[in-house]
Assembly symmetry: C2
Homo-oligomer: 298 residues x 2
């Protein structure tokens, strides 16, 4: 969509996507591909169900994709997650396991539950089907606006950014692809600078709660930096994120979540390469207490 | 736009319009028509400028339309208006007079200033050019979705509703056109029931601050009820408006203003005729304190 903020700016507002974020693009591509590859339910490796670990948008996306193809979905959500997100995931028909799940032990619990049930994992970012699915947002934006010269997306684990980079560079080799992350969660920036995957010592504290992953995935690194499909990683301050969120809600009238505001924050603070710019606004599932505070106490 | 709330529902989200509401449609049509009718600035009745009385969305719309054609704009805004809206109007190049302007004396002051300056009035609703301009929102929605059977819009002075009714009935005589207003501001409902313009004794108290006008206009009455282009007026409670606003912000991710939530409130509370429904979400310039309260204390 266009805005009156800047006539050269285009937004792909993924908050208007089903479940309120871009995540169903990857989840649907992964779940449908799983089913396609094994043919009928009678096939010996047809998945018995799918499993995901997420406290956020990926959980709802996998639940919806699984329900759509008629597979059971099991989602592991840390004990301290937002109850609204847990309820939304259950409302989409998924089984949720929360008891005893922590940020630290969730990978271990995941492997145990996968072994018990024989369910297939839908990884939130380090998966080719997920990466290709996430790339369709940028692909659609470029179909609508083929002259875009700069594309910016948030970067957490790197699913959206690596998918966008593949889509953008196959549209035109000269498009600049930029990932935006919070200063406090600069693992992608460090990985770009050092040329190897860098891991943060702990989950970072940031308004942008969708990018608290401590490291990008191996496949994402491969696309983004090993194959140089991403041109730059830009970091923004918490103040810049808050300010972009306010501009989004009050000027653009898009109820975006802080993570979705990352590319807008980079644009507004002049940190992006100049040119016709397309921003992927990744989602709108904001914590309302946080947003209410940011809107009324700037 | 479509939503995942209801597959048969379509929204015309006018919060994404320049200045954040549908009002520029009527203001541009009125200002451009004024200029067109008189030809060049040398014509004796070419307007010296335009004038409007508004504390809200109409002020910014007239300011933008006048600036676009190079005419001065003078806006009378009551003394107690929201300073943010005054600043936004000034930022669009309009002169604002606030000193001594009250809700009660503003019509009188308007006539005095018009006589002094020789400026032409752009009425917010009781004006054919404004009515025809406002109708383009429904016209565009019907171009996108020709099968719509029910159209609902907010009704204050009746500019949007009467324009929408003309557009909708010329598209198809069988479309139902419904105006939605707050229970506490039911002058259009009373005018519909009695068959003559009814005036509220004072500006009503409602969350929907865009429809606090005490009576619909004469031309609006003529279109809506004398010529029966509007089928029904529906009223909604303050609780229904608040609830629709929350659904808009949290489920649809559209940062709409309470007035813009009126048709959604009528839809969600089951008060609209059944069928493929199109709602005109009239704007997004919400008072942030109000919205923050509604979002966090449901």
């Amino acid at each position: 969509m266009a805005t009156d903020l800047d006539t050269h700016l285009r937004l792909k507002a993924e908050c208007f996507q089903v479940t309120g974020s871009f995540k169903p693009r990857g989840a649907f591509n992964a779940v449908l591909s799983l089913v396609d590859r094994t043919g009928s339910p009678a096939h010996p490796s047809h998945p018995a169900g799918v499993i995901a670990v997420s406290s956020g948008n990926h959980a709802q996306a996998v639940a919806l994709a699984a329900r759509t193809v008629g597979l059971p979905a099991l989602i592991l959500i840390p004990d301290d997650a937002n109850p609204a997100k847990v309820a939304a995931t259950r409302a989409l028909g998924a089984e949720v396991i929360q008891k005893g799940i922590t940020f630290a032990n969730r990978e271990q619990r995941l492997r145990e539950v996968m072994a018990e049930r024989g369910f297939s994992l839908v990884h939130p970012f380090d998966d080719w089907d997920v990466i290709h699915g996430q790339g369709t947002a940028a692909m659609e934006m470029l179909e609508d606006e083929p002259a875009i010269e700069v594309i910016a997306t948030p970067v957490g684990g790197g699913g959206l950014l690596s998918g966008s980079a593949i889509a953008a560079k196959s549209h035109s080799g000269s498009i600049k692809v930029i990932g935006v992350e919070p200063e406090t969660a600069d693992d992608a920036y460090q990985s770009w600078k050092t040329g190897s995957v860098q891991t943060l010592p702990m989950a970072p504290v940031t308004l942008a709660d969708g990018v608290r992953t401590t490291a990008i995935g191996q496949r994402n690194f491969e696309v983004m930096f090993a194959n140089r499909l991403v041109d730059e990683i830009v970091t923004v301050t918490e103040e810049e994120i808050a300010s972009a969120l306010r501009v989004g809600w009050t000027r653009l009238h898009i109820a975006l979540e802080p993570t979705g505001a990352l590319p807008l924050a980079a644009h507004l603070s002049g940190k992006l390469t100049k040119g016709r710019t397309g921003l992927v606004i990744s989602g709108g599932n904001a914590n309302l207490e946080t947003v209410a505070k940011l809107l009324t106490h700037p």
